[in-house]
Symmetry: C2
Subunit: 257 residues, 2 copies
Amino acid sequence: MEITRNEPLYKQVAAVLRQAVADGEYLPGSLLPSEAQLSQRYRVSRPTVRQAIAALRTEGLVDVVNGKGSFVRARSGRPAPTVERTITRTDNHFSTPTDDWPEAEPPTVYRTQTDAVTGPLLGLESEEALIGCDRLITDPATGARTLHQTLVPFATADSTPLENTPEARPSEIYAILTAAGHDLTWRETVYARMPLPDERTALHLPEAVPLMVITRITYDASGQPLLLEESRTGGIHAAFGYAITAASDKRHAVRSR
Amino acid sequence: MEITRNEPLYKQVAAVLRQAVADGEYLPGSLLPSEAQLSQRYRVSRPTVRQAIAALRTEGLVDVVNGKGSFVRARSGRPAPTVERTITRTDNHFSTPTDDWPEAEPPTVYRTQTDAVTGPLLGLESEEALIGCDRLITDPATGARTLHQTLVPFATADSTPLENTPEARPSEIYAILTAAGHDLTWRETVYARMPLPDERTALHLPEAVPLMVITRITYDASGQPLLLEESRTGGIHAAFGYAITAASDKRHAVRSR
DNA sequence: TATCATTTGTTCGTATGTATC
DNA sequence: CGATACATACGAACAAATGAT
């Protein structure tokens, strides 16, 4: 592959480097040639080389460190170990895999209201009162961070111990709701987007690492939403696993959005 | 917010624009001021303005079109409608929500071998023979594209109609395996990463849109893996939903990675 | 500790090409 | 066709981080 075609120079340089990495000429963790060297080798200006490397950065192919150089990122087919989304129940005790993840900061409890997104999810109108609790927890196995939020409608907390323990962990909330006579089921949705700058700093995310957003809704047996949880985690740092059961009925059919 | 601090100019400009979008001064779909205008307004050079806008592009905040300008992207809290991962069974007939998604291209069938990733997932050694089938399917509701791959070990296809129908759809494969006497269960893992350039073009992904990778493994009742599927979809274009059932035993416990 | 060479980061100026309307 | 807007490319200079001397 040579630099002559009638295509933008920086794209050609990026393509050459991308191919070289794919061919194993530059192994993960190793250093690419310096910008000055690449500039000489391909007879292009340094700004052009920088533009090529900028493209590789946004693809997540390289990490660049000021004063050192451009490192090939380990682009593993499969990322960190899988975190199970399972909920385990024994009698009236619930546990989830994230239960024993330490909190990097004390939980933040606050009052808020339903908005255009959370309202429909909880089956409520807009501007209904909610108790929120934000947590920053850390996977002890990998060090990966997760932002976890619980939103409890007043109707759910009312006349239960939840009124006085807004900072309860999810598995504790499940137990409290079960003790209050509810028969719980859960549904999750997951999607990915690029993190906002403050999410990147809070989660210590490198460049070009997407955010996975998992929304879990806890339902009563009647289908009434009781609780909304949202988890945000760096995509490369975690995969999520769950079981699929073939449904012959429509019990868990689309409750939509 | 003004441009004076002792921080890189392009970061200040990016922060101002980011804040303006967050404050609703520039609504989704609307046009940012042109580079020349921003350059004048904040008394910085046009390359500096371009650097600021480049930052907003990699964050997915704006879409830039040559000759037109920089559009604020609709950064909805919740993206496209949820695609259910449910498998529905009636007698020996299976169906999944993607069954009736049209194929943008004819499926590609090929032979390959297990590698360091697929081997362990299928409980096989390295370099065991597989039948692969790649599909490019389209969500009729949204137009979003998905790359879908099935990997069938020879041991699974052997002595079933699968030998002669390598391009069978997943739900057809489930039916064939069930007819062959298997009692099927499924597990999925999901993670996100930035797409490779060819994945971006194949899936028509805009800039700064991550890729969601869903891996589904079909197991026999004995826990033997029979089939590996991988789906790749643009993150913003789809959310995935599934039911969580509280397990009191360890039936669906961690089968790892 | 201080200095220096190397490497990337930031910023400007300038010119030309290409897409849109 | 022309005005506007973004894309590409080069050159130049200085700042900041890094690691070795």
